[in-house]
């Protein structure tokens, strides 16, 4: 990090700064997506950039997700660093082939002759009544895809540093932005800096139990930790930051220290990140564990519309607290 001054910024503003700085520094960086131009994007992340950099580099597209992502791959093949915005992560089904069969495999199947240096930003996660097609946590859809990098910031400072690092990186990056975090505020340094990809961070130190989480679940885990501190349970929270390839070293070191692990993930429990982390912890830390690893995750349902129903199926602080109590027994 540079010695620039620290200001308070929202997660959304931090992402906007990252795009602005990256575009200012490197002409090969350009943006494309639906209503990202004059309108500034559905969540306002590209606001002001169209005026500053023009319609050529902040390019509005038709509703053609496959073409948007395909075009980023093609531009990267000839040395550009495009950043696509897919308005809702749920729409990634429309460009799944482009990400999985094209972007993620290109460097490998042509044996290093091309680099798919793209970033695909997308808004994921529920909790606001978005319903089945505007609320999902999709990391599990992409976890089984070698070649792809999945980045998932939880805080404004990391949102900015990870987005700049993702744009600088030569790999195809799926950049997940949780909708509930866009207005979360935090300290953000001014100026250009990167946060390393593939590195988790200990968001709170503790000695009794490790909670591994990403994005909104990091905040839920921190709230759970504060609640349990009053009962003398000292919770360590590990924010994964990069989901694939993830930083097993930091996760395992934490679990070896505490001897207990809760894995918190907003997506449905089956076949997702929570299971993957839990399996790795089980394989590597079996002798260090004082209790079985607990997965705190969404119920195995689509996301319902009504807020009461949605709250019922999505995990939060209460479920993490219950999970921690269970491993502390």
């Amino acid at each position: 990090m540079t010695d620039s001054s620290i200001r308070t910024r929202t997660y959304g503003q931090a992402l906007n700064e990252a795009l602005d700085l990256a575009m200012g520094r490197d002409e090969s960086v350009f943006l494309l997506g639906e209503v990202i131009g004059e309108m500034g994007g559905d969540f306002g992340v590209t606001r002001g950039l169209w005026t500053k950099y023009g319609a050529e580099r902040v390019r509005d597209t038709p509703l053609s997700e496959a073409a948007i992502v395909g075009a980023t791959v093609g531009a990267a093949m000839v040395g550009m660093r495009p950043v696509a915005e897919i308005m809702f992560a749920d729409f990634l089904g429309e460009c799944y082939d482009q990400l999985v069969n094209n972007a993620a495999k290109m460097h490998y199947m042509f044996d290093g002759q091309f680099k798919a240096s793209i970033v695909v930003r997308t808004a994921c996660g529920g909790g606001f009544g978005g319903g089945p097609h505007h609320s999902q946590s999709v990391e599990g859809w992409f976890l089984n895809v070698p070649g792809l990098v999945i980045v998932a910031p939880a805080t404004p400072v990391d949102a900015k540093g990870l987005l700049i690092a993702s744009i600088e990186d030569d790999n195809p990056i799926l950049f997940l932005e949780h909708k509930a975090l866009y207005r979360v505020k935090g300290d953000v340094p001014e100026g250009y800096y990167t946060t390393p990809l593939g590195k988790a961070v200990v968001a709170r130190e503790g000695k009794d139990v490790t909670v591994v989480a990403t994005m909104k679940m990091v905040h839920e885990a921190l709230a759970a930790a504060n609640e349990l501190a009053g009962e003398g349970i000292d919770v360590e929270v590990v924010d994964l930051r990069t989901i694939r390839p993830y930083d097993a070293e930091t996760v395992l070191a934490s679990v070896r220290k505490t001897g207990r692990a809760v894995v918190a993930n907003e997506a449905p429990k089956i076949g997702g990140l929570a299971g993957e982390l839990s399996a790795t912890i089980g394989e590597e830390c079996f002798r260090d564990l004082k209790a079985p690893v607990i997965r705190v995750a969404g119920l195995d349902t689509p996301i319902p519309f009504s807020l009461v129903l949605e709250k019922y199926i999505l995990p939060g602080k209460e479920q993490i607290v219950a999970g921690i109590r269970s491993v502390m027994k």
Binding site: G70, V73, N102, G112
Partner: protein, 327 residues
């Protein structure tokens, strides 16, 4: 006769190279020397030879799955080692992708070959980005996308033509309409048997070409590329042709149709007749050209067969840029 005889003979040599390549490959495939699947471009040589003749190394083409021929022509023309395409198909370390890509994923950006994607039509989206980057950087290159008639069923076909049209991108769509998508006749699989009918709504020039007449194919590709290079936006060519091979092999097609395309309208027979008709060259002269090319292809096959297999440990290389994969 619109072409000078030297150009026509060169194109004949290129078409024959494609045919000899494919027939040699098919022979080796049947012997079990070529792994995986094989889709040959026999019968479709004129389209590929015409495109290869006009595309520069600084342009690009996305080959379809019957494009060993244009891959080999570009490799030979710009790097003088067409045998590396053959070696790739044999899965050897000397192949253009070191054996990682094979028949359906051979690429070499140095010769403009941006690689096939075996999910037919996916690169219809990819081509947009190449063209967009060149347009933004004011580089007067042409991004060519070779597709089959079956690909028209993909959503990317429409997303691609639309985006190329609204942004006036330098894209040449070369649709090789060989009459069948796997075994589905084109008129049954699409709302029109003429693909240009589906493309025309996007407002770009759309031209049907006899894809087995090398002179016409050569002239129409030239016209299209001049249009695109001059900054006039995308262009759609539909080449009517026919593949000799079934998708897998030999599914039923009516005998009169087979006779027409193989005997009466074979691109190589047509070109051979034209050359003999329009020049002093005799059948024996052309036989000599064919024998030379055939010999060269046999040399490529020998090269491929005698090349080393890849080091198995390389299977984990280049998954990520600058990140090692650990098991």
């Amino acid at each position: 006769m619109t072409l000078d005889i030297e150009t026509l003979v060169d194109l004949y040599r290129d078409m024959w190279l494609i045919r000899a390549f494919e027939l040699g490959l098919e022979r080796e495939f049947k012997k079990g020397n070529v792994p995986g699947m094989l889709h040959t471009g026999v019968g479709q040589e004129a389209t590929q030879a015409a495109l290869a003749a006009h595309l520069k190394a600084t342009d690009c083409f996305f080959p379809d799955h019957r494009c060993h021929g244009i891959n080999a022509l570009a490799q030979e023309k710009y790097q003088g080692d067409g045998e590396r395409i053959m070696a790739e198909l044999f899965g050897r370390a000397t192949g253009v992708c070191s054996g990682k890509g094979g028949s359906l994923h051979s690429a070499n950006p140095k010769v403009g070959n941006f690689g096939d994607n075996a999910v037919e039509g996916s690169y219809m989206a990819t081509v947009l980005g190449v063209a967009l980057a060149w347009q933004m950087r004011k580089e007067p290159n042409v991004a060519c996308c070779i597709i089959g008639d079956g690909t028209v069923g993909r959503g990317e076909f429409h997303e691609s033509l639309n985006m190329a049209a609204i942004w006036k991108l330098p894209v040449l769509y070369a649709c090789v309409n060989n009459g069948y998508a796997i075994s589905m006749p084109v008129g049954k699989g699409h709302a029109s048997a003429d693909i240009v009918d589906l493309a025309r709504g996007y407002g770009m020039p759309c031209v049907i070409v006899d894809g087995n007449d090398i002179e016409l194919a050569y002239a129409e590709v030239q016209k299209a590329i001049e249009h695109i290079r001059a900054g006039n936006g995308p262009y759609f060519l539909e080449f009517k042709t026919w593949r000799w091979q079934g998708l897998f092999s030999g599914e039923f097609r009516p005998p009169e149709e087979v006779k027409y395309w193989k005997e009466d309208h074979d691109p190589i027979k047509l070109a051979r007749a034209k050359i003999i008709d329009a020049s002093d060259l005799t059948a024996a002269d052309i036989d000599r050209i064919e024998a030379e090319v055939k010999e060269e292809i046999e040399r490529w096959i020998d090269f491929a067969k005698s090349s080393p297999m890849p080091d198995p440990a390389k299977a984990t290389a280049n998954v990520y840029v600058d990140w090692a994969v650990t098991a």
